[in-house]
């Protein structure tokens, strides 16, 4: 793993720790007083982030000069050996997922889901467009039937709402 990213995450933890302690100080004590109080656990979490982060940052910085290569032994889940990995792909998938969720209400499930599936699979290198479209549409329809019709989940259908209401498939 890249020690620079590792350090950045540790520094983020330290910053969050400071923020948690600062915000915890503003929590009202409340009418009922007890031996622990409303703030104690947050202080504990904030201190854990701050102290733990400082220890990890110090450990990383002490060894910084001794090793020139920024890549250090992996502490997390390793990638599959021999297959090229890219951090851009998950970043793109995250972006597409956020757009999908943001469009879930305005576009409705039936339009936003195929777009998400096609977009995400295109990012992952799938280029057989007809297969993609058939897969995306069939998945969307099957899951809509399961959730909206069988499990009675209220799902946004966006522009299809008047049509579905007329057909008696939805009631609100």
């Amino acid at each position: 793993m890249d020690r620079r990213y590792d350090l950045a995450i540790v520094l983020a933890f330290i910053a969050v720790g400071v923020l948690v302690i600062a915000v915890a100080r503003t929590i009202p004590a409340g009418l009922h007083r007890d031996a622990v109080g409303s703030r104690a656990f947050f202080f504990g979490v904030g201190i854990l982030f701050f102290v733990g982060g400082c220890i990890l940052a110090t450990q990383r910085l002490v060894r910084w000069r001794a090793q020139k290569d920024p890549m250090v032994p992996m502490e997390g889940t390793e990638d599959e050996e021999g297959k090229p990995a890219s951090a851009l792909r998950p970043a793109a998938i995250v972006g597409i997922s956020i757009a999908y969720v943001a469009l879930l209400n305005p576009l409705g499930y039936l339009l936003s889901t195929p777009l998400f599936i096609i977009g995400a699979l295109a990012v992952l290198g799938e280029r057989k467009w007809w297969r993609l479209i058939i897969l995306a549409v069939s998945f969307t329809v099957i899951f809509y039937i399961i959730f909206a019709q069988v499990l009675n989940t209220r799902m946004s259908v966006g522009p299809f709402a008047p049509l579905f209401r007329e057909l008696g498939w939805i009631y609100n």
Binding site: I55, G76, A87, R154
Partner: protein
């Protein structure tokens, strides 16, 4: 009689055809998904959890547990035939099974794995009852101080899930606790860390966070690489013939031994299937007349490993159901399912809902019966599953989590929370912060604080009175012993890795 009643209750549930349908689905899903490398029980639970919200809780529990049973069996078939373990708990099966497969004895390895998986599952169910019933009967002794001590015990188990770096593991747990505490103060009902947002005034929904951390984070991580599972394994392989009883007989002692070890180790919160399998494998080697075969194609090794990982399914349920302490990521999600159905995890869980106990027994029994009938043929299905398009599975799994979490409350906010947890989970997985530890802390954090403060209130805010209650005192002392042991074990493992690294360098 109290030990027989749960078994009778479990068997009586099997008179309903509906439960069989759910169990059949669950077992098949578990078997197929178990064969896919990297998609373990936890991720599968994360994907199917939303479907369980619309089910009857009894069917939901039976469905989830049948997935576990199918999953533990499913992960060993590609391990033996292709050298491709579906999960970490199948690694030793992979080493011995694949060695046998290369010698042309794949059928024998598969047969032992099949018998061991079924044997481990069947024998572990009565053990589960024997371990759970006394704890359930003592449930009325648990008030807030005792509950607090139990939550502390669960927290200590996080040390087992911390991974290579203990500090990072503890920070991950701290993150989970912090998330769990957002919302109303348990004593004063004043909002904390809500920053004026109405949606989080009462706290976060636990399920989106757990699915985000445990399932979506892993799905995001898997998109880093584009390849097919089949590419790793190589050529297409067909299913060999089932071995004879004479060939299988020598493995029976190791299967029985693996079952007992698997159930007991699985019952330790934080242990789970992988340590169960590895410990029983080590001890089976120690007790074997042919220890030299272990690692080079030992059928006794496969028997012990497979029986233990299947028996750990029943073992994991002991602390989850009797104490409300989920010992693994999948058990966290199982409790999440029960919470969504209105059950409160804790020692009272099975007193208020004994049908859940029966459902777990019924689900595991029915799933085992289905595996007895279809298990050998299912292996063909698993070989096909490995040839599924990995990218398509990942994207459809992501889409399933989105619709599933949306279906909880029909709120887009929940889905955003899940995605945020998924992004955090991605970085945690990459940089060695335990997502399972964080998820466990999310489940336990709020309960720990509430019970500590309400418990202190009960004993006039006196720490001495609080800690001198017998069960509380003993449990807290146990926590400290376990904590010290966990830290010692992690330190030893770290030292071993350092020695190994330095010897490799030299």
């Amino acid at each position: 009689m109290e030990y027989l009643q749960p078994l009778i209750g479990g068997l009586s549930l099997l008179s309903s055809p509906v439960i069989w349908v759910y169990v059949l689905f669950g077992t098949v899903i578990g078997v197929i998904v178990g064969a896919l490398p990297g998609i373990g029980t936890t991720l599968t639970y994360g994907l199917v959890l939303p479907f369980t919200f619309a089910m009857d809780p009894v069917n939901a529990i039976a469905f989830l547990l049948s997935i576990s049973v199918g999953n533990q069996y499913g992960n060993s078939i590609p391990a033996i035939l292709m050298g491709l373990p579906g999960s970490a708990s199948a690694i030793m099966t992979c080493i011995d099974g694949y060695a046998l497969q290369r010698r042309g004895e794949g059928g024998l390895a598969l047969g032992v794995s099949y018998i061991a998986a079924l044997g481990g599952q069947i024998v572990s169910i009565p053990l589960f009852v024997v371990l759970t019933v006394p704890l359930v009967q003592a449930a009325y002794l648990f008030m807030q101080p005792e509950m607090c001590a139990l939550y502390l015990l669960g927290m200590v188990c996080i040390v087992s899930l911390t991974g290579k770096n203990v500090i990072k593991g503890l920070m991950a747990a701290g993150f989970g606790i912090g998330i769990a505490l957002v919302g109303l103060d348990p004593m004063n009902n004043t909002p904390r860390f809500a920053f004026g947002f109405r949606a989080v005034r009462s706290g976060f929904e636990i399920v989106p966070i757990m699915i985000g951390l445990l399932a979506v984070g892993e799905l995001f991580r898997s998109t880093r690489q584009v390849f097919q599972w089949g590419e790793v394994s190589g050529a297409k392989i067909s299913l060999p013939r089932f071995p004879s009883w004479r060939q299988l007989r020598p493995t029976i002692p190791s299967i029985l031994f693996g079952t007992v070890v698997g159930t007991l180790v699985g019952a330790i919160p934080g242990a789970g299937g992988t340590p169960s399998a590895l410990i029983s494998y080590q001890y089976a080697q120690f007790l074997s007349k042919h220890p030299e075969e272990f690692g080079h194609g030992s059928i006794e090794g496969i028997g012990a490993n497979e029986a233990a990982q299947n028996a750990s399914n029943s073992g994991e349920l002991v602390p989850t159901f009797s104490l409300g302490i989920p010992g693994s990521g999948s058990m966290v999600l199982l409790l999440g399912c029960l919470t969504a159905h209105g059950f409160i995890p804790g020692p009272q869980l099975l007193r208020t809902g004994p049908e859940l106990f029966y459902a777990s027994i019924g689900g595991m029994l029915a799933s085992t019966v289905i595996l007895i009938i279809t298990g050998w043929k299912c292996a063909t299905l698993m070989l096909k599953a490995v040839n599924m398009n990995r990218q398509v599975v990942t994207v459809l799994a992501l889409a399933t989590t989105v619709i599933g979490v949306y279906s909880l409350n029909a709120r887009v906010f929940d889905v955003f929370v899940m995605l945020a947890a998924g992004i955090i989970g991605y970085f945690m997985l990459r940089y060695g912060y335990s997502t399972a530890g964080a998820a466990l802390a999310v489940v336990l954090g709020a309960g720990f604080e509430a019970n500590l403060r309400q418990g202190l209130n009960l004993v006039d805010n006196s720490w001495v009175k609080f800690l001198s209650r017998p069960i509380t005192g003993i449990t807290v002392a146990t926590c400290f012993v376990l904590l010290l042991y966990g830290l010692y074990r992690t330190h030893k493992a770290r030292q071993r890795l350092l020695v190994q690294a330095s010897s490799e360098k030299s």
